[in-house]
């Protein structure tokens, strides 16, 4: 009611305003608010004075300039390039500024000069740094041809490549290179043996197969990470539990291994959080949920970088489609709100049932993955398995979990897409819930795989099980960390392989069929490939989660991941240019950027859990690896700390204890509550200011009307 009244007043005001504008332009133009509007740079005509009898444009640039520009202190002044003036007027302003500056005395002059030099240095450094940005021209080309939505995928991929590269440098520098160097230099290795009595059967682990080795088995070993691959720096099992002495410095290999793994995860966390801070600032600032979606689409909707006529035509179509969809959705929402209670109840029951169906499908998928992992391990490990000795079947058995996960990830999203059509959600919510379900599917399948591995390694958590009684872990897995590393390695390779196969056997043929047989109705229905950004980004996040999970057990995995992502970049670029047409519906890059980083953080959290669990709870293998002989992996760190200076020791113990953690937690909670209250206050202040502005606008129109009536 109130809104409508206000709108009527507004439109009334608009009519009177515009008609008044025609009658008394000079009055409006002399208002102070209009003066600031005219502070711009067109020498020809004072902007806003396109009406007859307008005020004379001021001759001097000085009149247009608010005093803040030619101020005393240089910090208060905006840099000249940020002023909305034409170049000529900026030049005149600079002369004025220099005249003012020349009146400054000694120290101020020196300071102003130094500040100017610093600015120039900074701009030069920025120019140099821009050369170092990887793939800049490629991304710009993609942006010009396919829009910012698809470009956001490639810039996300570039970010992942950089992060993996720096992380792999970290790992290589602290874990692989020292070990390789020490071995090459034949330095003195002092063993860290602890005197725990261990069952003899747990101590011997020999991954190489003896006797006649066929050539084919080398390829098998390369693909599955067994055999000769286990005796390289790739896997955990190869590292020694010893320290190396050289030049009065002792390099503790197990400590370095553990701390590097820990700092690798921490480093990735900090970088992702730093990058998502920008996206977060934009997504959370808006008070209302819609945040001006129509205005945003109309005012910021045009991509000024587009140059090709075809791209421009497509953009026209997509904007039109977008606006029409939004208007239809609004009409749909209005219709939905007018539904009877019976219809609404029916819809909610339908939605509930479909959600239960979705959960059921997910559960079935997870159960299949669990069964597949167990069967695969039984096939490969047990003595009486039927496929021992037959290499192809062994390879298939090794990759069985990966195959099942991939099938589930291909089929279930299609089913979800069909289900979500029936649920009749509004469009924006539909996209979000589909993305959410796919994310859940992908990450949870990985979790199920890890859980099934865990249950086999620790005999379902039962240390008294006959298999686990001897060593503390299952005797089928004498070097269990390497087995976990191998699973992650296989998944990584399989991921890349699937991407290659899909590209070769689905995308290229599709493009060729559509180009050479345009008349076939079935092909016309299927159409040309569209580059789907959300599913591609989820693939990347899945791959990165695999890398994080396996990094503790397979130290060279970040290196492999970097190479894999570089390959993915070029392959995806190839398929984009060769096979894909730009999407009909524009993909909103900005709001989803934050969502993708959030999913990446979720992946990082999930991958931290196995690492932390193995570090603190599970007993490391006694037969291999840098922690053989220790009760837990963390023991290395605690024994290293106990060798430090007592004050440092005391400090570290205090930081790790509850006496520090609980007050810190309380302090952070208080800070959070304070900030939430502050945000609430700001929100109500903004509302009251808006209402005040409205009243002021009406006052202004009323007064101008009175003045013009009186002056006639």
């Amino acid at each position: 009611m109130e809104d409508r009244q206000e709108r009527d007043l507004g439109t009334q005001g608009d009519d009177t305003g515009s008609s008044l504008g025609r009658r008394s332009p000079s009055l409006f133009l002399q208002l102070p608010s209009n003066q600031t509007l005219r502070f711009r740079g067109n020498k020809a005509e004072a902007w806003g004075a396109a009406l007859e009898g307008a005020a004379e444009p001021p001759e001097d640039a000085r009149e247009l300039v608010p005093p803040s520009v030619v101020g005393e202190e240089e910090e208060d002044r905006k840099p000249l390039r940020e002023l909305p003036l034409c170049l000529e007027e900026k030049r005149e302003l600079r002369l004025l500024q220099e005249q003012a500056a020349s009146r400054l005395s000694g120290w101020h002059l020196w300071r102003a000069g130094k500040r100017r030099t610093l600015r120039q240095l900074r701009s030069q450094a920025g120019a140099v740094m821009s050369y170092a940005v990887m793939w800049k021209s490629t991304l710009r080309h993609i942006e010009g041809h396919f829009g910012t939505g698809i470009q956001s995928y490639f810039s996300f991929l570039r970010f992942l490549v950089l992060m993996n590269f720096v992380a792999s440098l970290l790992v290589v520098a602290f874990v692989v290179a020292p070990n390789a160097a020490f071995e090459a230099l034949h330095l003195n290795w002092t063993r860290h043996t602890s005197n725990t009595s261990a069952n003899a059967s747990c101590l011997h682990y020999d991954p190489t197969s003896h006797g006649l080795i066929s050539y084919f088995s080398y390829i098998m070993d390369l693909l599955s990470g067994k055999g000769f691959m286990e005796l390289t720096y790739l896997f955990y099992g190869y590292y020694q539990n010893s320290a190396v002495d050289f030049a009065s410095f002792s390099y503790n290999v197990p400590l370095a291994y553990l701390l590097t793994g820990f700092f690798y995860l921490l480093f990735c966390l900090i970088w992702i959080v730093h990058r998502s801070v920008y996206c977060l600032k934009h997504s959370l600032v808006s008070e209302d949920t819609s945040f001006g979606s129509y205005s945003n689409k109309v005012f910021a909707g045009w991509d000024f970088g587009l140059m090709q006529t075809s791209a421009v035509q497509l953009k026209h179509k997509s904007i039109c489609y977008d606006l029409r969809m939004d208007l239809e959705e609004e009409a749909f929402r209005r219709r939905l709100a007018e539904q009877t209670t019976k219809q609404r109840a029916f819809l909610y029951i339908l939605r509930g049932l479909l959600n239960i169906l979705v959960l059921g499908l997910l559960g079935a998928g997870f159960f299949c993955i669990y069964l597949a992992t167990e069967y695969s391990q039984w096939l490969l490990g047990s003595v009486d398995s039927p496929i021992k000795g037959q290499v192809t079947l062994e390879l298939l058995g090794a990759y069985l979990p990966s195959v099942v996960i991939t099938i589930a990830n291909l089929l279930l999203p299609i089913i979800f897409g069909v289900i979500v059509q029936l649920e009749k959600y509004p469009l924006s919510f539909e996209i979000k819930i589909t993305l959410l379900r796919n994310v859940f599917l992908r990450l949870a399948s990985l979790v199920v795989l890890l859980i099934s591995l865990w249950s086999q390694i620790t005999c379902d958590g039962d240390p008294q099980h006959p298999d686990c009684k001897d060593c503390g872990y299952s005797h089928l897995f004498l070097c269990w960390e390497t087995s976990v590393g191998q699973e992650m390695y296989k998944l990584l390779i399989f991921d890349l392989l699937i991407m290659l196969l899909v590209m070769l056997f689905v995308e290229f043929p599709r493009k060729m069929l559509v180009t050479y047989l345009p008349s076939c109705p079935l092909l016309k229905l299927w159409g040309q490939q569209e580059f789907m950004v959300p599913s591609n980004v989820l693939d990347l996040v899945y791959g990165q989660t695999l890398c994080w999970t396996g990094a503790l057990f397979c130290p060279l995995l970040p290196v492999l991941n970097t190479l894999k992502y570089i390959l993915v970049f070029y392959l995806k670029k190839l398929t984009l240019y060769a096979n894909c047409r730009p999407a009909d519906r524009t993909f909103r890059a900005s709001s989803s950027n934050f969502f993708f980083l959030l999913v990446l953080l979720l992946g990082l959290t999930i991958s931290c859990v196995p690492a932390l669990y193995s570090m603190f709870v599970l007993p490391p293998s006694k037969a291999c690896g840098p922690f053989r002989g220790e009760p837990t992996m963390w023991n290395t760190v605690s024994s290293a700390i106990s060798e430090l200076h007592p004050t440092t020791q005391g400090f570290l113990e205090f930081v790790g204890s509850l006496a520090f953690a609980v007050p810190l937690f309380l302090l952070l909670s208080i800070l959070m509550f304070y900030l939430v209250a502050l945000a609430g206050t700001y929100s109500s202040v903004v509302k009251s200011l808006k209402a005040q502005l409205q009243l002021e606008g009406q006052d202004k129109l009323f007064l101008v009307k009175q003045i013009s009536e009186l002056s006639q």
Binding site: E6, G17, A50, R81, S290, G292, G305, V312, G697
Partner: protein
């Protein structure tokens, strides 16, 4: 690309660098592209010539842009108001549309570009013309009058804070500041 084609005096170059957001390479590239639009005899006097609007619209960056004519109009300092651009106007254009320009500056110029009747506010006619530019000239891609009316009503409801039926500069800048897409889409790079 012969001798005097891409030559700019050094003090002029450093002045341009200080007064715009462009780097040295970008200014030299702009000079080269601007000279290429001139006939061969006049290339030496590139800094003094003013190109008419239809020549500027031959640039590939502006040719296909539905706002090309408006952009030339806004950045032009020609006394006749026909939209011809001199080299310094061209530099201003590139500076505002560059990647380094601040969002506030971009939103100021975006407002001027969208203000088709140059009266200092965006009223219903301006918005209608803007939407038609966005959706293109084809018959099928224009919105129906009912849809247009509904759309403009929605936009005014979201952006018009003082409810006077028009959107002025501060309201426009306020609504644009909350759009994270704007700086990256309001960009032209040679």
């Amino acid at each position: 690309m012969g001798g005097s084609g891409s030559h700019l005096p050094r003090d002029l170059l450093s002045e341009y660098q200080e007064l715009t957001f462009l780097s040295k390479q970008e200014i030299l590239l702009a000079h080269r592209r601007f000279s290429e639009l001139l006939p061969k005899e006049e290339r030496d006097r590139a800094l003094l010539t003013r190109l008419p609007r239809r020549t500027m619209l031959l640039l590939p960056e502006l040719r296909a842009n539905p706002f090309g004519a408006r952009i030339c109009q806004v950045f032009s300092t020609a006394a006749d108001g026909e939209g011809g651009l001199s080299f310094e106007d061209f530099l201003d254009l590139l500076s505002v549309f560059s990647e380094a320009a601040s969002a506030e500056l971009k939103s100021h110029y975006a407002f001027r570009i969208f203000d088709f009747d140059d009266d200092g506010t965006l009223d219903k006619k301006d918005l209608e013309q803007l939407v038609n530019c966005l959706t293109g000239e084809g018959e099928h891609s224009r919105l129906s009058p009912v849809e247009m009316e509904q759309l403009i009503q929605n936009i005014l409801e979201e952006s018009d804070i003082d409810k006077d039926g028009t959107i002025n500069l501060s309201e426009f800048q306020h609504i644009i500041s909350r759009s994270p897409d704007f700086p990256s889409s309001f960009k032209i790079v040679l």
